[in-house]
């Protein structure tokens, strides 16, 4: 039986922050791990692999306050599999906003999945400011918690961890404005363009 399978639930897959969190996790895990992206659509193969491992780690972003639709699709598939062996489920959830607690609802959904389907629930790590943290001086905070999580999984523990950037909300707003403005600039889009009130080229008044 293998030890760990990592399932990336981000629609961005190989380009995702989730992928980067997974790389950091593997560094601290120090053992082999099978990896899949749910957007590959290789559901059968992934489900079969899940049964052969002791630990299952979902890594995904918060989407509209919940689990991304692409990952819900995979969870439905996994629910249909009637395997005898069920690995312990863990999750690293990252969200764009500063407060890691905004991930709690998605974490509870993973808990509900486990409860409904007889999977033991292990460790959950909620990361706030997850879009940017790894490229800031606060990357060490995410890494530290991921390290703690890996150690806790090895010990068979089960609790929730959280981390974020050590910034006040106002400082976060300033830093994120700079981050997004620079992203726009790279595409030749000004801050004013990004600030448009129009949706599909219209405002409500038109």
């Amino acid at each position: 039986m293998g030890k760990l399978v990592i399932i990336n639930g981000s629609p961005r897959a190989v380009k995702s922050n989730s992928k980067r969190y997974g790389e950091i996790f593997k560094g601290y895990w120090g053992d082999s791990a099978e990896e899949f992206n749910v957007i590959s659509g290789r559901y059968r193969e992934i489900c079969m692999c899940v049964e052969k491992h002791r630990e299952l780690l979902f890594i995904f972003p918060l989407y509209a306050d919940g689990i991304p639709a692409v990952l819900l699709g995979f969870l439905k598939e996994l629910e249909k599999s009637s395997y005898k062996h069920k690995p312990t489920v863990h999750a690293i959830i990252n969200c764009g906003f500063l407060e890691p607690e905004q991930n709690n609802v998605a974490a509870d959904m993973i808990g509900l999945f486990c409860e409904k389907n007889g999977y033991p629930l292990g460790m959950i790590l909620c990361i706030g400011g997850g879009e940017a943290i790894l490229d800031t001086p606060f990357a060490f905070m995410a890494k530290r918690k991921i390290k703690k999580m890996a150690a806790a999984i090895r010990k068979g523990q089960s609790y929730r961890l959280k981390t974020s950037m050590m910034l006040t909300k106002n400082m976060f707003i300033k830093a994120s404005s700079k981050y997004w403005t620079e992203m726009g600039m790279k595409n030749g889009i000004s801050r004013e363009d990004m600030d448009t009130m129009e949706i599909e080229g219209k405002t409500n008044k038109e």
């Binding site: 961005r12 639709a69 407060e99 409904k116 595409n187 009130m197 949706i199 599909e200 080229g201």
Partner: protein, 170 residues
Amino acid sequence: MKLLLSDRELPAELVKRGDYKYISLVQKKIHNCTGCFGCWVRTPGKCVIRDDATEIYPLIAQSEKLIYVSRIYLGSYDIPMKIMLERAIPVQKAFIRIHGGETHHVQRDVKEKEAVIIGYGNLSEKEKNLFENLVERNAKNMSFKRWRISFVEENEVDEAVIKELDLWEN
């Protein structure tokens, strides 16, 4: 504007009667969000995926009253409605503000709304609670000034929709 958005077809006689827009997601082709943020940093206010979602998120933005009809899965909107809500992020700006004591995105031209969510399926109390927590969080990102959730069994959906439409009319 009033909007009735449903993940299942509702009976024709029911949906033709009032001054509201009815959209069923059943016939719509809506791809998953790819997380590219093009709607913020490439073509602000427009999704780069030019499918049916581009007709729907402007209506969500314009609505002052809305009803979402969705199956519930794991305390979440089930996949069709969840995909649509994820594809609605062009109505927000990349920029962040403090709202309700937390960081949230600044909205574009989005009306504040009264939302009713008819969530259906065979649901445990735990699942209902979780969905309530989800909608409470959504309220901050989706400009709900008031919201109410009505949980029903699948065979009670039409009746629940009629009840809500009656409330709109009276």
